[in-house]
């Protein structure tokens, strides 16, 4: 009897140890990202789905920084670690708008902060339709998202809707107080609107993908246009207000205080799904210059602990299964052909084809243009 028990115990121990060994085989790879809560929700689901797969070769761990509470610091943390020559840090994968990833390169002074991706380890990449707006070869776009104009079709009849920037200018002036954009720097919807408005006056298309400070000299016309419409925007307490955050302008649309706003397509869809926005709310783009969209990418940092171990998860994110999660969880625009995704929600984003996105990636010029906007526009009375 004693023998049997001790045999069993030994067996149990061997089993426990071996299962431990199996578990320990999988490296824990850190995935860093930032954004609003919707980004955290998306990656919680993607990572849970990936980690649950039996053939997953790594265990991914989410490191999320809510935007506005330290995401600025994240760029600085990574780049200072890079500049001080640190290796084997916990920054394995980093994900952000490709435009924001450019900030890492600007702060590090070199694109060596990210490794050159080995696309042979990303078999699903051949299905990706979206070319990255910047940093090609270093980043893998996994979803698109774009700023659009959102309006309530119950309040703006189809024939009154402005379809060009000139018509928009006229519409804003004819309907004082019914248009609003949020304060740039507090949410990407305003950034998309404000930058598109400024850059449509710059003829050279190279400007739209450059963080070269020489372009700052050509912002005057755009800023003048923004100053021109300023007196006709949403007012509270007698003065024009640019509310904080993307949700700020969405709230104004929800409360019927304004009729037309620039907003993120995915956030509009989410609000319609939640019932906070009526189903009569529609989205569209102007014919002579769409509001900027962005590709959101994943990169592998060159100062992380793991490189090869990251590819499996990245490949999963751009698989039909991963893309389905992006679409259904976040209403994100998939980067692969819609036909390959099995989802009833495909129609929601059918009009927002990633191939037609108007990219505007100005990297660290973002800080400068926000400051310029604050000086030129907010000080107007």
């Amino acid at each position: 009897m004693k023998k049997l028990i001790s045999m069993l115990l030994v067996l149990a121990m061997v089993f426990a140890l071996s299962s431990l060994a199996v578990a320990a085989e999988k490296p824990v790879v850190n995935f860093w990202t930032t954004g609003s809560q919707n980004v955290a929700d998306l990656f919680s689901e993607l990572i849970a789905a990936y980690n649950a797969r039996e053939d997953a070769t790594a265990e991914v761990k989410l490191q999320f920084l809510l935007s506005g509470t330290g995401d600025e610091g994240m760029t600085s943390r990574v780049s200072s670690a890079f500049l001080s020559g640190q290796k084997n840090t916990e920054f394995d994968m980093i994900s952000d708008n490709t435009n924001s990833l450019m900030n890492y390169v600007d702060e590090c002074g070199t694109d060596e902060i990210f490794v050159d991706l080995d696309f042979s380890k990303l078999p699903n990449f051949e299905n990706v339709l979206l070319k990255p707006s910047m940093l090609e070869g270093k980043v893998m776009p996994y979803r698109g998202t774009t700023v659009v104009f959102a309006y309530d079709s119950a309040r703006i009849p189809e024939n009154e809707l402005p379809h060009t920037w000139d018509e928009l200018t006229q519409w804003i002036k004819d309907h004082p107080g019914r248009f609003a954009y949020n304060e740039p720097g507090t949410g990407g919807a305003a950034d998309g609107f404000m930058r598109t408005a400024v850059y449509r006056f710059i003829d050279d298309p190279a400007a739209r993908r450059s963080s070269d400070e020489k372009w700052a000299e050509e912002w005057d016309k755009g800023m003048e246009w923004l100053a021109d419409i300023h007196p006709f925007l949403y007012k509270s307490g007698g003065s024009v207000v640019y509310v904080a955050k993307n949700q700020g302008t969405l709230d104004l649309l929800i409360n019927q205080e304004v009729d037309l706003i620039p907003a993120w397509a995915d956030q509009v869809l989410k609000n319609i799904e939640n019932g906070t926005l009526p189903t009569t709310v529609k989205m569209y783009q102007l014919d002579d210059g769409a509001l900027s969209g962005t590709d959101v990418s994943i990169t592998i940092s060159s100062i992380g602990t793991y490189v090869d171990e990251c590819y499996d998860f990245m490949n999963f994110v751009i698989s039909p299964e991963g893309q389905k999660i992006c679409l259904e969880n976040m209403k994100a625009v998939p980067v692969i052909a819609a036909e390959s995704i099995e989802s009833e929600q495909k129609d929601l984003v059918a009009d927002l084809n990633v191939e037609n996105f108007a990219f505007l990636s100005i990297g660290s010029l973002s800080d400068l243009i926000n400051e310029r906007w604050a000086e030129d526009i907010t000080t107007l009375k």
Binding site: G68, E72, S76, S236, G237, Q256, E257, N370, T378
Partner: protein
């Protein structure tokens, strides 16, 4: 010295040493924490505020910007103005409320006495959103006005309190009146009934009792309440961020804006400025406390 006496001093020394060790043990956690998370960051921030972002060398440029740039200057005045108005209004209302709570024996007073503490138990962010729902131009007040007959003239009443200093001050009062009232009520409760009665007995009128007795006996706590309200509002962020306007902005919001535009050195200079403002009120606080000890000795 006898042997006994020697051993007694030894024991005394031993006791004293133990006592000191005890004090050190009790103080050490707080001391280490404050060194680590208060003193060190302050020194760091001050150094950073004098650093040039690009070269890393000493510069006055960050402060020069604060005192010459149009937006920065407007923001500094605006912050001081909003804070001072908040302090004055909060104390005025709180003092009247405290007097009522202290000297009225009615049931309503008792009810208000429990009710006024309620805001202290509501998280700040929740309170700000609740206030927005009430005072926004499409909020509760507006919707109630829409229910009125058109002739009332209030139809589609827009309070216009959101996204300007009125809204910030209103919200600040909501947060600070209960706090100030709590401190002043405590002070007024310390004034014993017998002092007031004896003054009344020798013919002092209500007004005289108020100005000669109640005010002097509670002024110290009023000053303390003022310094606390000043300090918490000069650096406030949530309220002005969600309720304030785009220009001018309070320093907390201005700081965040600079931080998110990665102007860390300028953000540090703003922090130092806020710190200087707070220090002024901290000095007032310490001074009031010391002065009062003299008064008590008499």
């Amino acid at each position: 010295m006898t042997e006994q006496a020697v051993s007694k001093t030894k024991i005394d020394k031993n006791k004293r040493w133990k006592k000191r060790l005890l004090i050190v043990t009790f103080l050490a956690p707080a001391l280490i924490l404050s060194l680590g998370i208060i003193v060190y960051p302050i020194i760091n921030t001050v150094i950073k505020s004098f650093t040039d972002a690009k070269t890393g060398l000493f510069t006055w440029a960050n402060y020069q910007y604060l005192f010459t740039n149009k937006i920065a200057r407007a923001d500094i005045w605006y912050t001081v103005w909003v804070t001072v108005v908040t302090v004055v209004l909060a104390i005025a209302v709180a003092y009247m409320l405290a007097l009522y709570l202290r000297f009225s024996k009615s049931r309503i007073a008792k009810f208000i006495g429990t009710l006024y503490l309620l805001p202290r138990f509501i998280p700040g962010l929740v309170a700000v959103y609740a206030m927005k729902i009430v005072i926004s131009d499409s909020g509760l007040l507006n919707r109630l006005s829409l229910l009125l007959p058109q002739a009332a003239g209030l139809y589609d009443f827009k309070p216009g309190l959101l996204y300007n200093s009125k809204g910030i001050i209103l919200m600040n009062l909501w947060f600070n009146i209960p706090f100030a009232t709590m401190i002043i009520v405590a002070a007024l409760s310390g004034i014993s009934e017998s002092i007031i009665e004896s003054a009344r007995d020798v013919g002092a009128g209500r007004v005289r009792v108020f100005f000669k007795m109640i005010v002097p006996l509670s002024i110290r706590d009023v000053m303390i309440a003022m310094t606390f309200i000043f300090m918490s509002n000069i650096s406030s962020f949530t309220t002005p961020y969600l309720i304030g306007e785009n220009f001018p902005q309070m320093l907390g919001v201005f700081l965040r804006k600079n931080f998110s535009n990665r102007n860390y050195e300028r953000a540090a200079a703003i922090s130092v400025l806020i710190f200087v403002f707070s220090s002024v009120s901290a000095i007032v606080y310490i001074y009031t406390n010391l002065k009062d000890k003299d008064w008590e000795r008499l």
